[in-house]
């Protein structure tokens, strides 16, 4: 299975019925393809809508209806549109139950960096700082390592997105939960050993008893 698909399917198991969820651009978007049967999840796009859906059929795109990446989407029955102040009031006022974001680095305190690489890449934070500071749960969905270099590090080397630790980190190798006592290894990806996870992680990992294999959403 493709690493992105492992991550998306595992994150999808964090979805809860009746909740409001924001998916970041890129890998996190894939989570919407794996919503477990029977759950009704409300997806928010921070450009101003709750209840957007897949890209409409060719020729039915509406130029006033896009996602945060500017791509055409559709709207589900019951969708709601609003302005940017309301959109971020939902995010910062703790109405957003979960956000799923990509990451460049997560450190041993659970701090996330995902908006710039000084001197190299300065896209800007968009809504990421608001999302990490305000959402009830922050799930990072990212590759465990980049070209063999661990992305889970003792201390951030890149500028932080927020001083608030994230709730959960889901990678193609592991599920890791930041706690007050450090990063706890909760699950391994199918076929991956604890030692392999450790070897690919620069930060210290706590192991509490048996580390089960991930269950993935369909």
């Amino acid at each position: 299975m493709d690493p992105s698909e492992i991550i998306a399917r595992r994150v999808a198991r964090e979805l809860r019925d009746g909740t409001l969820v924001n998916l970041g651009i890129g890998l996190p978007t894939l989570v919407a393809n794996h919503v477990p049967a029977g759950l009704r999840v409300f997806f928010q796009s921070e450009n101003g809508i709750i209840g957007f859906g897949a890209r409409p059929p060719e020729g039915m795109e509406a130029r006033h209806l896009t996602d945060a990446g500017g791509g055409f989407v559709s709207a589900l029955p019951g969708a709601v549109a609003f302005d940017s102040a309301m959109s971020f009031a939902l995010i910062r006022g703790r109405h957003l139950d979960m956000t799923v974001l990509g990451g460049l680095e997560v450190d041993g305190h659970g701090h996330l960096a995902n908006w710039m690489v000084p001197g190299k890449l300065v896209p800007g934070m968009g809504g990421a700082m608001d999302l990490v500071s305000g959402a009830k749960r922050v799930v990072v969905a990212m590759q465990h390592a980049q070209k063999g270099k661990p992305k889970i590090v003792p201390e951030l080397t890149l500028p932080a997105t927020s001083i608030r630790p994230v709730s959960l980190v889901v990678t193609d190798m592991a599920v890791i939960e930041p706690t007050k006592d450090g990063l706890v290894l909760r699950e391994r990806a199918p076929g991956v050993s604890v030692d392999q996870v450790r070897a690919a992680t620069a930060a210290a990992l706590r192991i509490e008893g048996d580390v089960p294999e991930m269950t993935l959403a369909a």
């Binding site: 450009n47 006033h64 990446g69 500017g70 549109a81 300065v122 305000g134």
Partner: protein, 217 residues
Amino acid sequence: MISAIKPEQAAAMVADGASVMIGGFMGVGTPERIIDALVARGAKGLTIIANDTARPGVGIGKLITAGAVARVMTSHIGTNPETQKCMIAGEIAVELVPQGTLAERVRAGGCGLGGVLTRTGVGTPVEEGKRTIDIDGRTYLVEMPIEADVALIAARSADYSGNLAYALTARNFNPLMAMAATLVIAEPDEIVPVGVIPPDSVHTPGVLVDHLVSRPH
């Protein structure tokens, strides 16, 4: 009653060096015809306040490419390599503002508030040079209101008295900006008689709008 103007008349009202709020999110909900007229008249030295700088050839991206922009306050420039290139070359000063903070700062400017107290950005580079305030043991940034000389607004519908309604995700920053600028020019898809937009469906009251740009015949 408001009289309708042409895009080039709108562009003439935006002085070189002016601060200009422009609605839109990746070009969706951006007044393209006014922007085309600004490019055509060779506007220079603008300070642009907007969610993003779109892409080359789209919305604010056209102003970047035309060299009309001296400064940008925005949440994201990642989709426009030209903005990044100009920033690195020192041709455009870029202030990056978290998106929710940008929305609240513009709102504060339009609503007469002294600033915004937010957790977003605390302990990050966004905090640099800013005041903080401790409330109930938590630290908040004191973010300043933003106002502008001109707001360029895109709407779905306007009526003859300037009331505006937006469609779906094209609303975004438009209603906030319509409150925060000295001069407000709106470019609607259609202009309809007074009464066609019911009172509960108006998103921006016409009293805030100075000019409507007419549709081409």
